[in-house]
C-alpha cells in the first residue's frame, strides 16, 4: 500500500469532490476535471499543483507546527472505579484495574480534582466531568457525591457542570436513571452486538453472558431518554465484524444512536484487528453507511452514528493538528490522584500529566502536544487525510503505531462521497446537524 505515499498529499479526489488536504476545504468539480486531477494526484505534487492552478485553486503548503497555546483543562475524566464486574478480554483497562490491583477513588481525591477543575475556569464558563472506570457504577455513592459537590462549587462561580458516564449497563437502577436525568447526563453503554455475539465478547467475571442483564437494566435509562443523552458504543474485534447485524441488534434494544470503534490495541493483544480484517471492517462500515444514507434520504432515522459524525466534521471543515482533545482540553485523574493524558493513559508513564498534590504538569502538556502534533508525524505529512484524522489516537499510535491508515483513508473517502451525495440531495441536513 505504498502507492498512496508516492502520490501527492496536497489534495484528494473522491467522486466529483475535491478535498484540499491542508485547509480541509471541499470543492465540487466537473467530472472531466475530477478525472484529470485524480490522475495528476496519482503522479506527484508538481502535476497536482499545476492541475489545481488550471482550476483556479491553490493548495497551501503545510505550515510549520504551530506554537502550542495552553488553555485551562475543560473536561476531566474521573476514573472513579478501577475495577469491573465484567471481564472483556480486549479491555484497555485490563479488566478495569489497568494491570494493578482493584481500587476505587476516594472522596478526597475526587473533591480535590473537582476543586482544581473549577478554580481554573472563568466565571460564566462550563466544565465537563466524565465518570470512567473500570465500571464507574461500582462507585455509585462517589458519583453522586461528586455531582452534588461540583454543582455546588460550580454554582458559586457561575460555572455550568455537564456530566457523562461510560458504563457496561449491568448495574444501572431506576434511581440511577432518575439521578442521571436530573443532571442531564450523557450516558454511553458499551455493547458489542446481539446476545450471541455480545456474550462471547463481554462475559462476566464468573464467565456468564451480560446481554440479558443489560437489556433488562436498560429499560430504566430508556424511560428517561428525554433527559439523558443515551447512546451505545461497539468495540469492533474480529468476532463482531458483521456490523450491519450488530448495529441493528443493538438498536433493537431501543438505542437511537450506535457508534462503532475498531480495536487497534489492547493490553493483551487479544481482540485487536489485523491485516485483512481492516478491509472487512471498511466493507462492513460502508454497508452500515449505505443503510444510514437510504434512511436519511427517505426522511427516516437510522442509528449508525459514525457516518453522521464524519459528515458533520467534513462540513465544519476545521483542519486538525491532533486526533482528539486529549491533553489540550481534557485529562483523566485516577484513584491515586495522578493526571494522565486521557482515560486510556491511566497508569501509563507515556501519558503522565502531573498529580493532584503538585497540580497539572503544564510543561508535560505542552511537550506532549508539541510532539504529537500531526505536522511532526512522519507518514502523516504526506497523507491527504492528515487534517481530518489529526494523526490518530495518541494512545494507539504510541503503543501500536498506525496499522489502520488505509482503513481510515478508505472510510474518509467513503465519507467524502457520501458528503457529496447528501449535499446534492438534502443540503438542509447540514443546517440541522453540523451547525
Amino acid at each position: 500500500m505504498n502507492e498512496s505515499m508516492q502520490s501527492s498529499g496536497a489534495a484528494h479526489v473522491a467522486g466529483n469532490l475535491l478535498l484540499m488536504a491542508e485547509t480541509a476545504a471541499i470543492f465540487n468539480l466537473q467530472p472531466e476535471d475530477a478525472d484529470r486531477l485524480a490522475t495528476a494526484i496519482e503522479d506527484n505534487d508538481t502535476s497536482t499543483r499545476a492541475e489545481l492552478e488550471r482550476l483556479g485553486l491553490s493548495a497551501p503548503l503545510m505550515p510549520p507546527p504551530p506554537a502550542t497555546e495552553l488553555h485551562p483543562v475543560r473536561a476531566l475524566a474521573l476514573t472513579v472505579s478501577q475495577t469491573c464486574n465484567l471481564a472483556c478480554g480486549y479491555c484497555y483497562a485490563s479488566g478495569g484495574n489497568f494491570g494493578g490491583s482493584d481500587t476505587r477513588m476516594t472522596w478526597d481525591v475526587a473533591r480535590r480534582a473537582v476543586d482544581q477543575l473549577i478554580a481554573d475556569t472563568t466565571p460564566g464558563g462550563a466544565v465537563k466531568i466524565a465518570f470512567m472506570g473500570g465500571e464507574p457504577m461500582v462507585a455509585r455513592p462517589l458519583i453522586r457525591q461528586v455531582v452534588d459537590y461540583a454543582n455546588q462549587r460550580g454554582a458559586v462561580r457561575a460555572i455550568r457542570c455537564g456530566y457523562s458516564l461510560t458504563t457496561n449497563g449491568t448495574l444501572i437502577t431506576a434511581q440511577d436513571a432518575a439521578f442521571f436525568a436530573e443532571h442531564n447526563f450523557a450516558a454511553t453503554v458499551s455493547l458489542d452486538g446481539g446476545r450471541e455475539v455480545n456474550d462471547v465478547m463481554r462475559p462476566t467475571r464468573s464467565g456468564g453472558g451480560s446481554f440479558d442483564r443489560v437489556a433488562e437494566r436498560l429499560q430504566a435509562l430508556l424511560a428517561r431518554c428525554d433527559q439523558i443523552a443515551l447512546s451505545a458504543r461497539v468495540t469492533v474485534t474480529p468476532d463482531n465484524l458483521n456490523l450491519p447485524r450488530v448495529v441493528n441488534d443493538i438498536a433493537a434494544l431501543g438505542f437511537a444512536s450506535v457508534g462503532v470503534s475498531p480495536m487497534i490495541t489492547s493490553p493483551t493483544g487479544q481482540g485487536a484487528l489485523k491485516g485483512r480484517q481492516f478491509s472487512q471492517l471498511l466493507d462492513a462500515m460502508r454497508a452500515c453507511g449505505d443503510e444510514w444514507m437510504q434512511h436519511t434520504l427517505t426522511g427516516r432515522s437510522h442509528p449508525f452514528a459514525n457516518l453522521a459524525t464524519v459528515l458533520g466534521e467534513l462540513h465544519r471543515g476545521k483542519p486538525r493538528s491532533h486526533g482528539c482533545g486529549a491533553v489540550r482540553d481534557y485529562l483523566a485523574v485516577d484513584a491515586s490522584g495522578q493526571y494522565s493524558a486521557c482515560h486510556r493513559f491511566v497508569k501509563d508513564p507515556l501519558g503522565n500529566m502531573g498529580n493532584l498534590q503538585q497540580g497539572i504538569d503544564h510543561i508535560a502538556r505542552v511537550d506532549f502536544l508539541n510532539a504529537r502534533t500531526v505536522e511532526r508525524q512522519s507518514p502523516c505529512t504526506r497523507c491527504w487525510a492528515r487534517r481530518l484524522c489529526g494523526g490518530g489516537c495518541h494512545q494507539e499510535v504510541l503503543h501500536a503505531g498506525r496499522p489502520a491508515c488505509d482503513f481510515v483513508r478508505g472510510w474518509l473517502d467513503y465519507g467524502l462521497r457520501s458528503y457529496g451525495q447528501l449535499q446534492a440531495a438534502q443540503p438542509q441536513w447540514f443546517d440541522a446537524h453540523a451547525a
Binding site: L18, N28, R153, A158, H315, G317
Partner: protein
C-alpha cells in the same frame, strides 16, 4: 481562466500570508493606562475592584470569596456599612441636585435606611433596563428551589456591567446559616456612582489609600513571592533583541551580521548570565519561568534589565535616524504643507469612522430571539461600537494635535507663514490597493457602512508602515532633527504616530468580533442610507451641529495659537463638544430610522 470550482463546506481557505514580515514597532499597548496590568492584577496603579465597593451611593460593600473549606454561605457582596452622610454625593442638598439623589436620600432617611442600619446584609439582586440579575445561583434539587450565593468575584463581574446615568434598583437581604436569603428584602433605587467626573477626577468619596488598600506594597516587599508575577511598574514581557553595534543597524532595524537577532523576541526578564541570553521568548509563563528572574531577584539584578526603545532593547544612546527611513522633507514649508494635508485627512477619517459607527446596530435593538440565535451578539455589537467610536474620537484629537503642531511651529518661526486653522476634510484618501498592497491608490472620501470590506480598508489605512503611519514618521523624523521648535511639538507628533498602532489593532479586533456575522449583514448592520443634505429637518439639524462644532474649534484654535484669551478659547472648545454631543443624539436617532447623516455635506456649498 474558467470559473473556479464551488466550495461546499465551511473550511477557511484564505492562504496564510505574512503581509508585513517586519515586526510592528511603536510603544507597546501595555504602556497605556487602559491596558495597565493593574486592571487585571491588583498590585499596580490601583485595584479597580475597589471602585465598585462603592458602586451604589451611600453604601460600602466587600466581595467575599469561598473559604478553603468550601462554600460556607458567607460568600458574595456583603454590605460593610451604610454611610449616606459620609458620601459627598448625598451629604448636603445642593441647588439643582438631580431628582434621583433627592429620592435616594429620602430612602436612606426612611424605613429602608433604618433596616440596613443593623445586622448582616448582602446584595441580593441588581436591576437595570428591566433586567434583574440575582447574586445567587438558582437550581432545583429534589423538587425544591436552592439559592446558592455567588462568590464575591462573580458578584463583582456582574456589578461591573451596571451602567451609570440610568436608574438602578438593588435589593439587600439577610441570610440563613446555609447562605440562603431570609426575611424581606430592602430595595433601594438610585444610580450607579460615576467614578470619574468630567475632568477625569476620581469621586471624592474614596478616601486616600482606599483604592490601593487591597494591593501589594512594594515598600514592604510584599511582591517577593507574588503569584501574579507582580512588579512595581508596567514592563515589557518581550522585546526585540539588541543590535550589537547600532552602527551596523540596517534601515529595517536588523543587524547586518545577524539578521535574525533584532527581529527575534526575547524575554525581557531573562537571566542574562546564562548562555540562554538571546534565545526566543517562551510562549507561556510556565516554560519561561526557569530562564527568567523571579520577582524577588529584580532588586538584585535590576541593572541588567535593558532599556527598551520602540520595542527594541537598547544599551547605547541611539542616534537620530532610528526610525524607519522615509523620504525626508526638503524644507519646513513642505512639512507645513504636509501637516495641512494630514489635518484634512484626520477630519475625513473621523467622519468616515463615525458613519461606520452609526451603521452598526445598537445593542438595544437586538431582540431576544436574535440573541438566542446568535449568542453574544449584543456584547459583540457593544464592543465593536465602543472601539470604532474610540478611534473616531482619537482622530478628532489628532485633528487638534496636528493643528497644534502647526501653530507651535509657525509661532516659533513666523517666517514660515501665519497659522490658519485647518478644519476642512480631504477630498481623497490614500490607501493601499486591495489587489496590490504595495501600491497606493487615491479614493474619493465616502461614507460607508461597516461591512467587512470597509473595515478591512480601515485596517489597511491604519496599518503600521501604511500611508498614514509613513506620513507621521516623516514628520517625527523631521521634527526630531530640528532644535529650533519647542520640544512639545515632537512629542505631539510622536503621540499621534504611536496611536496609529492602536487604531490598527482596534479595527482588526472589530473585524474579529463581527466575523461570525459576515454573511448575515442584517444581524449587525443597519440598512443605513446616506440622506440628502436638504429636505429632512433632522438631517439639517445634524449638519448644523457639525458646522457649529467646526466654527467653535476655528475660534478656539485661533485664540490658542495667538496665546490670547484662553478662558474664552476653552468656552469655544466646550461649545464644540456640546455640538458633537447633540450631533451624536440626532445621528443615533436618525440611524435608528436607517437614515445616515451626510456628514461631508456640512462642508459643501
Amino acid at each position: 481562466m474558467k470559473q473556479p470550482p464551488k466550495q461546499l463546506n465551511d473550511a477557511v481557505t484564505d492562504d496564510f500570508k505574512v503581509p508585513y514580515p517586519e515586526p510592528i514597532l511603536g510603544n507597546p499597548v501595555s504602556t497605556l493606562l487602559e491596558s495597565g496590568v493593574g486592571n487585571c492584577f491588583p498590585g499596580l496603579e490601583f485595584d479597580v475592584r475597589q471602585l465598585d465597593v462603592r458602586f451604589f451611593p451611600g453604601l460600602v460593600f466587600e466581595f467575599l470569596g469561598v473559604t478553603p473549606a468550601g462554600p460556607d454561605g458567607s460568600q458574595g457582596a456583603r454590605l460593610v456599612y451604610a454611610d449616606p452622610a459620609g458620601d459627598p454625593l448625598l451629604a448636603a442638598d445642593k441647588p439643582g441636585q438631580p431628582e434621583w439623589i433627592t429620592n435616594l436620600k429620602r430612602q436612606f432617611g426612611g424605613p429602608q435606611g433604618a433596616a440596613i442600619g443593623s445586622g448582616d446584609w448582602y446584595l441580593h439582586w441588581v436591576e437595570q433596563d428591566d433586567k434583574r440579575i440575582q447574586m445567587y445561583d438558582y437550581s432545583l434539587y429534589q423538587n425544591a428551589a436552592v439559592l446558592t450565593p455567588y462568590e464575591g468575584e462573580t458578584c463583582w463581574w456582574l456589578i461591573r456591567v451596571i451602567e451609570p446615568e440610568k436608574t438602578l434598583r438593588i435589593a439587600l437581604t439577610q441570610r440563613a446559616e446555609d447562605g440562603s436569603p431570609t426575611g424581606n428584602p430592602v430595595v433601594l433605587e438610585g444610580q450607579r456612582r460615576i467614578f470619574l467626573d468630567e475632568e477625569g477626577m476620581i469621586d471624592p468619596v474614596y478616601h486616600p489609600g482606599e483604592l490601593t488598600s487591597s494591593m501589594c506594597s512594594p515598600w514592604t516587599h510584599d511582591f517577593r513571592d507574588c503569584a501574579c508575577h507582580y512588579w512595581a511598574s508596567n514592563h515589557p514581557d518581550v522585546a526585540l533583541g539588541e543590535v550589537k553595534d547600532p552602527n551596523d543597524m540596517l534601515a529595517n532595524r536588523t543587524d547586518r551580521d545577524d539578521p535574525i537577532q533584532a527581529v527575534n523576541f526575547v524575554d525581557w526578564m531573562r537571566r542574562r548570565s546564562l548562555p540562554l541570553r538571546d534565545v526566543s521568548a517562551q510562549t507561556t509563563l510556565e516554560t519561561a519561568r526557569p530562564d527568567r528572574y523571579d520577582p524577588y531577584e529584580i532588586n538584585l539584578k535590576w541593572q541588567e534589565l535593558d532599556f527598551v526603545l520602540q520595542g527594541q532593547e537598547m544599551n547605547q544612546t541611539p542616534d537620530s535616524g532610528l526610525r524607519m527611513v522615509s523620504k525626508p522633507y526638503q524644507s519646513a514649508h513642505e512639512m507645513i504643507d504636509d501637516c495641512r494635508e494630514l489635518a484634512t485627512l484626520e477630519l475625513t477619517l473621523a467622519l468616515e469612522y463615525l458613519y461606520a459607527y452609526f451603521s452598526l446596530r445598537s445593542p438595544d435593538q437586538v431582540t431576544a430571539e436574535q440573541e438566542s440565535d446568535w449568542p453574544g451578539l449584543t456584547a459583540d455589537l457593544r464592543a465593536a461600537r465602543q472601539l470604532i467610536l474610540s478611534v473616531a474620537l482619537s482622530e478628532m484629537t489628532h485633528l487638534r494635535w496636528i493643528n497644534q503642531v502647526m501653530w507651535l511651529v509657525l509661532n516659533a518661526d513666523p517666517q514660515l507663514g501665519t497659522y490658519q486653522p485647518v478644519l476642512t476634510p480631504a477630498a481623497e484618501v490614500a490607501q493601499p490597493d486591495a489587489a496590490h498592497p504595495d501600491k497606493i491608490i487615491m479614493r474619493p472620501r465616502s461614507l460607508q457602512r461597516a461591512t467587512p470590506a470597509v473595515l478591512q480598508s480601515f485596517v489597511n489605512i491604519e496599518r503600521p508602515s501604511g500611508t498614514l503611519d509613513t506620513e507621521y514618521s516623516r514628520l517625527v523624523n523631521y521634527l526630531g532633527d530640528q532644535a529650533r521648535f519647542p520640544v512639545g511639538v515632537l512629542q505631539l507628533a510622536v503621540r499621534i504616530d504611536s496611536d496609529g498602532l492602536q487604531h490598527y489593532q482596534k479595527f482588526r479586533d472589530i473585524l474579529q468580533f463581527l466575523s461570525p456575522y459576515r454573511d448575515h449583514e442584517e444581524i449587525y448592520l443597519r440598512p443605513l442610507i446616506e440622506a440628502s443634505p436638504s429636505g429632512d429637518a433632522e438631517v439639517e439639524a445634524a449638519l448644523l451641529q457639525i458646522t457649529r462644532a467646526i466654527e467653535s474649534l476655528r475660534e478656539a484654535y485661533t485664540l490658542e495659537a495667538a496665546v490670547k484669551d484662553l478662558p474664552q478659547a476653552n468656552l469655544h472648545i466646550k461649545e464644540a463638544r456640546d455640538a458633537m454631543h447633540n450631533l451624536n443624539d440626532i445621528a443615533e436617532a436618525l440611524a435608528g430610522k436607517n437614515i445616515g447623516v451626510p456628514f461631508f455635506a456640512a462642508f459643501e456649498g
